[in-house]
């Protein structure tokens, strides 16, 4: 037993460094000619604006994916209800903002209501089938249908957006020709903030240490006298909280409507699959990659914009079944 464990650990440590270098080289090899070609297709200003577009959309995806990936990393649950969480959180935020007139309250309410929902889902439903991969996936997909239908019953089928505060409306202007929406810059800043926060928690705090240990070896954590169930619940609630909040954020520049739960879930899936399930860095990398691919593909080959998203994912998975920065399961 111990021998095998030592073996496994060293395989991981050794391959991580080599792997990352390989990933970097391959990425650059693909990216550089692509960038060169892209630059011949559009003006430099447009090129940089598109990069910003990609990054800001990626920022929203990072919000979504970080919650998804955390839950998966810790609990091995692919929570397909994440898209439903996003949709309903957004609706709650919209209603709260409508009633109170406060965008920030809406953001908070979206997160809080969904974390309550998360608590219910984790405690009442998922706990009964803990550790059974497939039932968990099937349950969460069933949950998505229910949440989507509930949202339709309550909020109707019209596309909805959130009323942004005045200071986030309109464009941020540099010189005569460069305009960029303030809201998108805000989302980008928020994502960087969240990312730094999560990395800080992950690397520097005791909670982070527990979570990371839990990812590696749940039995060990349990043996250390830590209530792993409580950690799971906490993580699930937190993941749900960010999902709900990202719904509110998304409602600022995308629409909420029936079916959006699956669309956004698929974006989140692509992000975490490309990045590597369970890895926070992976979620960040995946979000940037997907955001950029989406922005540029839509500009250059609009007919293939879905294909350009899923095809790279499929290829990455064929070559690296655990994603770019993922570890062997």
């Amino acid at each position: 037993m111990t021998e095998a464990a030592v073996e496994a650990e060293h395989v991981v440590v050794d391959s991580v460094v080599r792997d990352r270098i390989r990933v970097l080289i391959i990425t650059l090899a693909i990216a550089i000619p692509l960038i060169a070609w892209t630059l011949t297709q559009m003006s430099t200003l447009a090129f940089f604006t598109q990069i910003l577009n990609g990054l800001s959309f990626g920022a929203l995806l990072f919000f979504l994916a970080s919650g998804f990936t955390m839950i998966f990393g810790l609990m091995r649950i692919a929570n397909l209800a994440h898209g439903g969480f996003y949709l309903m959180g957004g609706y709650v935020g919209i209603t709260t903002t409508l009633v109170t007139g406060q965008f920030w309250l809406g953001l908070l309410a979206g997160g809080l209501v969904i974390s309550c929902l998360g608590l219910f889902v984790e405690r009442i439903l998922l706990r009964r089938i803990r550790g059974m991969e497939k039932p968990e996936v099937l349950l969460t997909i069933g949950l998505t249908f229910v949440i989507g239908d509930f949202s339709l019953a309550v909020w109707g089928g019209d596309p909805r957006q959130i009323e942004k505060p005045e200071y986030l409306k309109g464009a941020f202007q540099i010189g005569d020709s460069f305009f960029y929406p303030k809201y998108r810059l805000f989302v980008l800043a928020l994502a960087i903030l969240l990312g730094s926060f999560l990395f800080y928690i992950d690397r520097k705090t005791k909670i982070g240490a527990i979570v990371r240990a839990g990812v590696d070896d749940r039995e060990t954590v349990a043996a250390m006298g830590i209530n792993i169930k409580a950690v799971f619940t906490g993580a699930f609630i937190f993941g749900a909280f960010i999902a709900g909040m990202s719904g509110v954020i998304g409602a600022g520049f995308l629409s909420l409507l029936p079916g959006e739960d699956f669309v956004i879930l698929l974006f989140a899936l692509v992000v975490v699959i490309i990045g590597g399930l369970g890895s926070l860095e992976g979620a960040a990398l995946g979000a940037v990659v997907v955001g950029l691919i989406d922005a540029f593909a839509k500009a250059l080959v609009p007919e293939l914009s879905f294909f350009t998203l899923f095809a790279p994912m499929a290829i990455i998975l064929m070559v690296r079944p655990n994603g770019l920065l993922g570890r062997a399961s």
Binding site: L52, V99, V154, G157, R184, F253, D294, P302
Partner: protein, 473 residues
């Protein structure tokens, strides 16, 4: 044993749920509207009193009015069953609910909710089926309507896809009349006409944009415009109508951007539009969930000031406008055959009654289904023979003038409409809600508008590759 019991319990639960929901299906749908209504009520308290008064006036007069215009020529006694296949769930549940609400309004206003008796003494009853925005389900629903409910007229849904599927399946049957007030494929009334099919209170996709293109050049004075439309047949035809008419009048289309259907993030396309330095304005079309992101992105990128938006029918329709940010939408120039702010008495009457019943301002989907019912009633009363789908269609096309929510309309030989097209502006109503108010109108627009019919039909259907003779690919 316990497991068996559990399974039994679940089955029972599911069955009782179905049973419960079947018996109270009307209640269920009402709840939906109610909840939506309460959400809105919280914010705009001023709306309550005003519509109520007007409504009272409206309901009193209405029954006589609709029927009395085209004097009842038939002997009455017809019993006509209408089946509507609407997307009440799925991606376009919003417009579906609008259509259902207006049908229910019509049957509640003039009858007992299930059926009505027309002024001419004919009975018309209604069955609504959900198609879940899915053509396969729409087909099953159509079979059910024909086989089980034995309907005479089918209103085949809102989406072009369900419309096409049902149209394709029922098109060659002569025991049913297909009336489509919302899906608008040009060729169904142009190059590949369907039998037993018409669009009362509906439109052809390029019909309204023909007028819009003309207006943009002649009245608004634009000479160079770009288009940004959804990349599928509705977008092609809608944009094509504009481009063809605009270039025909003398303008130039400087660029055409096509964004995929269902696209969510429009930053990419706004950036591209920003890059089009020679475009004076952009004609913009988006549908469904794409509308709000598109319009918001357009404003957020500062395009609204540099390149005014010329909105397609679905872009500034109430179904999207209801949830739109005021600062983003206000002042946008759009166009449609439906303008909820039009001061025509028929329009006012419908808008008031609809708003009173649902607390929503009527979208073109709502007006379309209401208008279709007005057409059916008028045609039934004008018929002087036994009911057959063909006979009703002939009556409709035979110079019948119907006062619909849209205003007065007539139907052409091919089943298309001759109607008014409004150029509209998004304005704030007294109570703070946004609506489209006409600023210019073209009367008696048919689907060929200023084009010669034969020449027009000789050119291909608008696609991405053909956007009118004056547009270079």
């Amino acid at each position: 044993m316990t497991k068996t019991l559990r399974v039994a319990a679940i089955l029972l639960a599911v069955l009782s749920m179905i049973a419960a929901s079947c018996s109270s299906s009307d209640d269920a749908s009402d709840t939906t509207t109610d909840t939506a209504a309460t959400t809105d009520e919280g914010t705009d308290e001023g709306t309550d009193e005003e519509p109520e008064e007007t409504m009272e006036e409206g309901t009193d007069e209405e029954p006589e009015e609709t029927g009395s215009e085209p004097a009842p020529a038939g002997d009455g006694g017809l019993d006509i069953k209408v089946g509507a296949i609407l997307p009440l769930t799925g991606g376009i549940a919003g417009p579906g609910a609008d259509a259902r609400d207006s049908l229910e309004l019509f049957f509640n206003t003039f009858g007992d909710g299930e059926s009505i008796t027309t002024p001419g003494g004919n009975t018309i009853s209604l069955v609504i089926e959900d198609n879940a925005s899915d053509p396969a389900i729409a087909l099953t629903a159509a079979t059910k309507l024909l086989e089980v409910d034995d309907v005479d007229i089918v209103l085949p849904g809102i989406l072009a896809s369900t419309g096409t599927a049902v149209g394709d399946a029922l098109g060659d049957r002569d025991d049913v009349l297909l009336l489509s007030p919302s899906s608008c494929n040009d060729d169904f009334t142009q190059r590949a006409p369907l039998d037993g099919y018409a669009r009362p209170a509906g439109w052809a996709c390029s019909q309204t944009t023909h007028a819009f293109g003309q207006w943009a050049f002649e009245e608004a004075g634009y000479t160079a415009v770009a288009t940004a439309c959804t990349d599928y047949s509705f977008g092609w035809e809608h944009c094509g109508g504009f481009a063809d008419a605009f270039t025909n009048a003398g303008g130039t289309i400087v660029d055409q951007i096509w964004h995929p259907l269902g696209n969510a993030d429009f930053a990419t396309y706004s950036t591209q539009m920003n890059d089009l330095s020679d475009a004076e304005a952009v004609m913009v079309l988006a549908v469904g969930g794409s509308v709000n992101p598109m319009v918001t992105s357009y404003a957020d990128f500062g395009l609204k000031d540099s390149k005014p938006m010329l909105a397609g029918v679905t872009t500034m329709d109430q179904s999207a406008l209801r949830a739109m940010d005021k600062s983003v939408a206000l002042g946008t120039i759009g166009h449609s055959h439906w303008a909820e702010g039009h001061d025509d008495p028929n329009t006012i009457e419908f808008v008031t009654a609809y708003e009173d019943a649902t607390d929503k301002i009527a979208s073109y989907y709502a007006a379309g289904y209401y208008g279709a019912m007005q057409w059916i009633v008028a045609a039934a009363d004008a018929m002087d023979s036994e009911f057959t789908p063909a006979a009703m269609l002939t009556t409709m096309k035979d110079g019948l003038e119907v006062d619909t929510a849209f205003g007065t309309q007539t139907m052409n030989e091919d089943g298309s409409m001759t109607m008014t097209v409004f150029i509209t502006e998004v304005q704030e109503r007294e109570d703070g809600k946004l609506w489209n108010v006409p600023i210019f109108q073209y009367d008696d627009v048919d689907q060929y508008f200023q084009f010669d019919k034969d020449e027009y039909l000789a050119q291909p259907t608008y696609t991405k590759d053909f956007q009118g003779a004056g547009v270079s690919g």
